[in-house]
Symmetry: C2
Subunit: 435 residues, 2 copies
Amino acid sequence: MALDPRELLREKRDGRAHAPESIAAFIAAATRREIPDYQVSAWLMAAFLNGLDATETDALTRAMLDSGRVFDWTALGRPSADKHSTGGIGDKISLVLAPLVAACGAIVPMVSGRGLGHTGGTLDKLESIPGFRTTLPPDQMRAQLDRVGVVMVGQGPDLAPADGLIYALRDVTSTVESESFIVSSIVSKKIAEGARAIVYDVKCGSGAFMKTIEQARSLAGRLVATSRAMGAKASAFITDMNWPIGRAVGNALEVAEAWDVLNGKPVPGTRELTLTLSAEMVRLAGVESTGAAARSCVERALDSGQALETFRKMVRAQGGELDPLEKGALHPAPVVLDVLADRDGILAACDGFALGELLVSLGGGRRRKEDAIDPRVGLVLERSLGDRVKRGERIARLHLGAPDAAAAARVAACFAIEAQPAPPLEPDLVIERIG
Amino acid sequence: MALDPRELLREKRDGRAHAPESIAAFIAAATRREIPDYQVSAWLMAAFLNGLDATETDALTRAMLDSGRVFDWTALGRPSADKHSTGGIGDKISLVLAPLVAACGAIVPMVSGRGLGHTGGTLDKLESIPGFRTTLPPDQMRAQLDRVGVVMVGQGPDLAPADGLIYALRDVTSTVESESFIVSSIVSKKIAEGARAIVYDVKCGSGAFMKTIEQARSLAGRLVATSRAMGAKASAFITDMNWPIGRAVGNALEVAEAWDVLNGKPVPGTRELTLTLSAEMVRLAGVESTGAAARSCVERALDSGQALETFRKMVRAQGGELDPLEKGALHPAPVVLDVLADRDGILAACDGFALGELLVSLGGGRRRKEDAIDPRVGLVLERSLGDRVKRGERIARLHLGAPDAAAAARVAACFAIEAQPAPPLEPDLVIERIG
């Protein structure tokens, strides 16, 4: 169709809905760079302020998907599944879950992102394994999926390139936090990578992007609906992000924790959330037909060491060295400081946003895309939410690349210790299930 | 100040007001091209949708003004005055008014624009005078203002360059019709050209940008208030634009009509509106202290031929040839068609927008900046609003550059002829006065 970007801008400016074909033409032309950035960015602001309805969000997702290559793994003869998390503190679930679901018989073509701001990214965690390659040619992806059942890679330039363009403009125009934009970005990538059963982990709480249950519920509902509109099976969990997941926060430390869980260690939080999400993937993909059977399947695959074996194969196939993991010596930090309780009381809360930002400032994350990450930097919690602690007692160990006298106290300040905290103090990991 | 455009975008996106210093820094940086167009355009959309309040509009105007050269003619020892019209069909008022007010003793440093879309531009009209130059170096402007009292030129690149940048982006992002943007664009140019008494003619009706009296009143109020905030005297008239001004519509034909009025012909509409606006300029500039004295002054200057003499001097000073005007032979059209009433009845309305668009399509205006204009194309009305006409009777003559069999009927269709039209049928030229 002949498209006048000004007409489209006027339409959204005036709060009218776009026809799906208009969105398709607009995104296609933008991807071909036939529409200048200044018109795309004005549209982003108009759409941010006046909103996109469900039909428009689906059309935007479809347009992003159609802008590039779409993988199809059906010829491999096994169902494909994936999981997406909206990002939380200490979220290393994918590292265990992806090989675990593959060990159950699905294929997991996981495309992940890098960390930016207070939450980390799966790619950065994987790259703390020496030699691990997160860029693979399609042939190699296919071969590895066939042989190992799982790949964990970054978004190549040919996968939903419109998303790359739009995301860069959202970032510089303060239009990131639009539900429709978030949904189209996430779902288009998951469908493009070839996943046909998708489980969403929508984090909710102080350390998450979604602060309220209402926001989380709305986003989860849209993710599921749009995924289904794209022809995939989908469901979502809203999970608590008022306390870090598991014990470790930081790139190499999280990989080490994932390794521990794969080796059967019952790390609280991490193991349970992994099993919940993995079982849902296995059920949704149709590997098992009931939730109970799926749960048994993933427990068995984890406890038997099959998931660990799949993880090893994946790391080797992608060029990574297992030795440091086997020896418990993945990027040891030269400086390890005790983080001490600064009063008597009960561990009542963690300001995940502040903690994440603090770790970024200590080198453990990046503020800008160009920043390098120190994989050694991080935190290992020794106490949990609801634990009674005494002033001066250690609650965590802080791993640093270089001495920093003030850092431990700044970490301690992210944890609230109260005399009489309001219940509940058990982090209720799964708050709600959608779809 | 250090400015993060993303912060500014977030502020307006969220409906908060900008500090004047933020607007100043943003516009200054945008003018230096330190802020990319895609951020400026996203801000334009946010400001369009969430609005700019009076303080922000004043700050934006000030920032546009400060982006370039600001003329100051006080050393010439006479008050400066100007008029701005928001654009109407057949609006050739400036051509008579500028020399007329100069003849009364004010200086008129008029910077005008070109036509785009259904209304014409004063520059295009002037350029139908062979040789007339609308670009003058500042020294020549000063010398001519001193000697003749009036210059009529286009906006040079050093006059409010931020306005040029912003206007171009408004055009391509469908954010033209924002009152704050309109006000800042108009007022910054008038102040930059050195006018210190400004009369606004806000057109209202089918052929105008402002369709309702409420819109017109709001715009007029803002134009006056912002002009005063910039240190100028200002007032505004809301005038009728449901019927063309005077008799002629079209570039050369309007210049010929202006010439007629300067020569004392009582062309209805054109003469009266010119006198009203001119008298207000003369009073506002302080050349005369009462409205009655100002009215006498402008009537005298027009009827005595002083205004005509000033016009002649201006045309000669700017390189134009007076001969075609003197001989009544300014771009005669090779084809002149009769526009006939298509039924019996009373001339009840003119769809000015449709008429303007039709004349553009016949070559008399431009759709895009690059388009050439045929100065010969236009219309001369022979009948007025409220006149009783018979089917087949001539109501106008259509001037064309080339034969076009269907054109006359299409022009006729722009005029409504009704058996019993609703009163009033006298075009009430001045609807309201503001300030």
